[in-house]
């Protein structure tokens, strides 16, 4: 294992360097909307430095680091892909994983040409599950066709979007599935070194992942010849130091390299020039966990599920205000209403005002749009997003002004500072809507929101703008009360 390696000035970027998570309360969005359940804990979360945005325990929000309760896991898709092994179980050892057919996909792939794996993934029409929804097969093909002596594959285990915790459960309860997915990706693109970039907020995942890698090494799954017959492959875990933006792939690569994790301008894309300038495939955990299933059952079987251009399944993470919080693997295209009302059972605490799907830096979905399908283009049309699959509902305990303050406060805290709109705009709005402040100028608010959406360098700023825009769109009346018109 390595930690992010850097000089003191770069280290100062990360808020959790040297900080202990012991006794820390979470300041994430699910905990924020559930703050009234334990006001004292929330006060602690919001006031103590450094802030901890999302420990991945949204199902018991407001949460603390020590809470080891597990979330309910439900595989409701017609053919579960990601969560099948985890319903009331965990698969932490190599033996247990193999007993369930683990590494058979890798075995099968090694008997075929790498291009066959790429073809299969393309056929599956799988899209990245980390937020952007980029076709995974196309990314694989780009890295596979780049000519370079050394290539890398990186698992993005920096599940930073407050509200999503599927990757934490996969990392902690099904580590070999991630490793097999990573090995398949490496074989497909011709990489021999893999990395898992693990966020600091998931400390329990580290020993489990390390043990799984050690097991895979000693069993000869990894090493100079994968499974004794394939090309060389090994995996290193790099632990982050606290920074939401490191979930963005180019910032993540900079972080592994020990550089300040600013996003890189593209082109060149990581598939051409990524880690240390080499062609690099970056995929999030859930995406990679899909790969073994796709290789074993065929891309067509995967693509048979889904809706419109969103194929296969997606795991959604329901937060604590639902009657039945937990992880649900659903077929893409499932109406949000089914997720909220049928699976989640609606809210236990009051009348639902809306849900944040896919993290706070995306749109809010009000109840009148709950019939929308959980699908990339369809949610985007409503100003929302599939994102990471976090589903955080809020009720009348939370005013729109408070929600806006929470999200801008989070975004300002996590802004890298590279581009003007995000560095200054996020903080300006946070100050404008801070509790106790006189009403701000509505025009100025809208100008900053517009600049965030239109001019930000990366998804952090544009996502923040999209969030605010969807609030303006769906909650204009309540919001207007927070501002004076100029």
């Amino acid at each position: 294992m390595g930690s992010v390696r850097e000089s003191a000035d770069v280290a100062s970027f990360y808020h959790l360097r040297g900080a202990s998570l012991e006794g820390r309360a979470c300041a994430g969005t699910a905990c924020f909307v559930a703050r009234f359940l334990d006001p004292e804990r929330w006060r602690d979360a919001a006031s103590r430095a450094p802030r901890v945005y999302c420990l991945g325990k949204c199902y018991v929000a407001p949460s603390v680091a020590e809470d080891r309760r597990r979330a309910g896991v439900h595989a409701v898709a017609p053919r579960p892909v990601v969560l099948e092994r985890l319903v009331d179980a965990s698969v932490r050892t190599l033996g247990a994983y193999e007993a369930l057919g683990g590494y058979r996909a890798l075995e099968c792939a090694l008997g075929r040409a790498p291009a066959a794996v790429v073809d299969e993934v393309e056929r599956s029409r799988l899209r990245g599950r980390g937020g952007a929804g980029f076709p995974t097969g196309r990314k694989l093909r780009a890295v596979a066709s780049a000519s370079a002596a050394v290539k890398h594959v990186v698992a993005n285990a920096d599940e930073g979007d407050p509200g999503a915790y599927v990757d934490r459960f996969l990392l902690e309860d099904d580590p070999h599935a991630l490793l097999e997915g990573l090995a398949l990706a490496a074989y497909a693109v011709g990489a021999t070194q893999g990395y898992v970039y693990l966020r600091r907020e998931y400390p329990d995942a580290l020993p489990i992942l390390e043990r799984a890698i050690a097991e895979a090494r000693s069993a000869g799954v990894f090493g100079p010849k994968m499974l004794g017959r394939g090309p060389a492959f090994d995996v290193e875990v790099v632990v982050g130091l606290g920074s939401y933006v490191c979930g963005e792939e180019t910032a993540l690569l900079n972080s592994i390299e020990g550089r300040r994790p600013f996003v890189r301008s593209r082109p060149p894309y990581p598939s051409a020039s990524g880690l240390h300038g080499r062609p690099t495939l970056v995929q999030n955990v859930e995406t990679l966990v899909n790969l073994p299933w796709i290789v074993r059952h065929g891309g067509a079987a995967y693509a048979a599920m889904g809706y419109s251009r969103s194929r296969g399944t997606k795991v959604v993470s329901l937060s604590s205000l639902f009657r039945r919080p937990g992880l649900y693997e659903v077929e893409l295209g499932t109406p949000v209403r089914r997720i909220v009302e049928e699976l989640g059972g609606g809210l236990a605490t009051g009348v639902i005002k809306g849900v944040l799907v896919g993290g706070p830096l995306a749109g809010v979905l009000p109840p009148r749009h709950f019939d929308a399908p959980l699908a990339f283009e369809e949610l985007a049309a409503l100003g929302a997003s599939v994102g990471h699959g976090g589903v955080v509902a809020f009720d009348e305990h939370t005013s729109v002004r408070e929600l806006v303050h929470h999200v801008f406060s989070f975004a300002a805290y996590e802004s890298c500072g590279r581009c003007t709109p995000c560095r200054l705009g996020a903080r300006s709005v946070e100050d404008m809507v801070a509790p106790g402040r006189p009403p701000g100028n509505a025009t100025r608010f809208e100008e900053i929101v517009s600049a965030l959406r239109a001019t930000s360098l990366c998804g952090h700023g544009t996502g923040l703008g999209e969030f605010a825009q969807s609030v303006l769109r769906h909650y204009r009346e309540e919001l207007a009360a927070c501002f004076v018109s100029s």
């Binding site: 000089s7 000035d9 770069v10 100062s12 970027f13 920074s243 300040r260 600013f262 301008s265 082109p267 300002a412 805290y413 996590e414 802004s415 890298c416 500072g417 590279r418 581009c419 003007t420 709109p421 560095r423 200054l424 705009g425 996020a426 903080r427 300006s428 100008e447 900053i448 517009s450 600049a451 959406r453 239109a454 001019t455 930000s456 360098l457 544009t462």
Partner: protein, 893 residues
Amino acid sequence: MLRVVLNDAPREIDEGATILDALRRAGIHVPHLCHDDRLEPVGACRLCVVEVDGAGRPVAACTTPLADGMVVRTHTPALEAERRTLLRLLAERYPPGAGDNAFLREIRAYGLEGALAGRPRPELVDDAHPYIRVDMSRCIHCYRCERICNDVQGQFTWRVWDRGAETRIVPDSGTTLRESSCVSCGACADSCPSGALVDRSTLALGPATRWTRTTCPYCGVGCEMHVGTRDGRLVAVRPVLDAPVNEGHLCSKGRYAFGFVDAADRVTAPLVREDGTWRTVSWDDAVRHVAARLQEIVARHGPDAVGVLGSARATNEENYVAQKLARIVLGTNNVDCCARVCHAPSAAALGAMLGTGAATNSFADIERARTILVCGSNTTACHPVVGARIKQAARRGAKLVVIDARRIELADYADVHLAPRPGTDLMLFNAMAHVVLAEGLVDEAFVAERVDGLDAFRDFVGAWTPERVAPECGVAADDIRRAARLYATERPAMSVHGLGLTEHVHGTDTVMALVNLALLTGNLGRPGAGINPLRGQNNVQGAAHMGCEPRNLTGMVPIDEGRARFEQVWRASIPATRGLDLMEMMEAARAGRLRALWAIGYDVLLTNPEAERTRAALAALELLVVQDLFPNETARALAHVFLPAAASFEKDGTFMNGERRIQRVRRALDPPGGARPDWEILCDVARAMGRGDGFGFGSAEGIWNEVRAVWPAGAGIGYARLEQAGLQWPCPGEDHRGTEVLHRHEFAHGRRATLRCLEPRVSSELPSDEYPFVLITGRDLHQFNAATMTGRTANAALRPRDVLEVSVADGERLGVRDGEPVRVESRHGVAVLPVALSERVPAGALFTTFHTAEAFVNRLTGAGLDAATHTPEYKRTAVRIRRETPPGRPRAR
């Protein structure tokens, strides 16, 4: 060619451009504050966002590559509104008040002056640096300072701390810029668009009102600069962005050390010393006096009793006139210049082996080389802009081999650093050649086609195994092998070298041994390769090339070869006697054979070795004329006449840099008082001596046109063409584009070059029990040679004195403390220097600079000379150290 539509107008733009490039080419201004052509775009400020049809959101013009068919709009109401919002966000944190910078110009353009509302933050002001004022309350976080420091200078001084709205940009000292690793190149202040980093001179003297493009007066890199003047005063220097040599970069000397032009002790009227006191005289009197005294001495002792020293600081035109005057007015070939004390061995070696005594390639080849071999050159200190380019090449993955006795800064970036004992490079190169042959790394095709003498060389070098030379060089045999393999296999491999190779008793042979390596490995005649002496002074290449050389005429033509042609142009005869070089002149002066010396822009006393013997030589002269800006040590101690000269900022002409590039020098301001360009003074004296016919020049250009008439390889380099850009000779015709790489298909003297079998010579400066240390002398980053110029600027604050670098191990052994003054004694003299304990000097070696008269380090250096060229052995003097205060006894307070 890409077809695009920019604001409704169809355009055709070359591929490879960004949208911003295209907009600028089309004359469309979009605001941008984080962009700098010297840097990779990062898209931080976001002001340059434009709308592109089909793109979901606006895109940053600076980072987005132009694509065929793009339809771009730059000033829609929406975009302008976003820009206004962004500028307002910046303005709210920026202090109100007057000022002029790119940021404030945009603020005014958008009518946002009223939005400037930042509060003063005195804690963010740092006034400690002599040249750069820091006020981070004016920082707009474009990151240009940090990026240019990293990606151009390679210094990593500016560090970014924290993140988001709390992001701070701080020097690596954590305190002031003065205390940081800053090398004062000024790139950050040049790039800063918001007044956070400002040149102190601009604050003190006001912004420049006129800018004149010229060439730097310091080292031989030949950086182009814009000289800013205001009310006839020099107030600022900025790098030229599109200069091929420096690509928008400068060093602490070029960028900031210009204050000497109006230093208080600038001499502005001619002086004649009578009975020990200086008397101011008119130019007429001075010229008549010098002419009469010279005529008298020539009449009495013959023309060869007179010598002239041209100047590496003066223009090509002036050096041409100086040697012409020596040869046809005074009638002697006793004319030389300071190339004698630096790279004469390189010129001799390259001339003898390849036919042209100059660098084979160009600085741009640094970016083309896969391996760079740096020998005997502390490049980042002495040729900082080239040093920075090498650092960046190494960062980008070029292999770097450093051969230097000291662990110089570039060694930190090197794949292999060989630290041979001073003067042992020749045997090291022989051993590298041995490895190349023994391991079959010879470029067989190249050698077969273009190289002679391989069999004899193979026999010779067979005995020079790495194991044999390792003990004497103090280098591990395996490291020699690694270096040789890189140079021979990771090609093209480019060699750059400095005076660490040449200032030895076998300096010429050492450079020849290096040329052997290039011949064996085919690293000649192609881009990214070659043998490239880094010339020490702005025009040292030109001074010698123009004929300030006893044996050569203009164009490095041996006298007998060029005599007829030159005599025809000059309509005068060239003397037949063999001329004396600088070191021979000193000998002749001591012997009473040389009676008069005219030294132009040259502090002979301070910079020649064996200072006491130099003093004796100069004291024996009947007439010593010093022509300079300042009363240098030579003038102060011994001159009879002082002729005040114009600085290069005050005259027109050309310099020739180390890569054979002729570049214009342009007059940016008037010389003070009666100071005059060297060429005018020379022509006046020629006229006063009755030889006005060949010296009736009316301008520098007129002189240059005569140079072109006698020098075929420069015939195509006219002033009109130089207005566009410098040109590298050979450039024989107006339609010739100049020569970046020499010897492409054949060598200057023919198809084939011959390998040389070279044995090292024995130095009389080997360490002994009595003198156990080897002293190396050289230059520092902030000072320049005799410090005549830099010593009169705030660079003196950056490097106030010469210090003796002592290895930490020796320091501990001797019990000397940092800063403690010690007596350094050689067989030739004594100097007292403060100790600077250093990790970069190996045990047994010492290093010091020779910049100041206070230390007068050349009292220590000896009589050893390069056998072929008489270049002094500055790089190896056996010395011992005596503590000024015996250990154990507290120093008196």
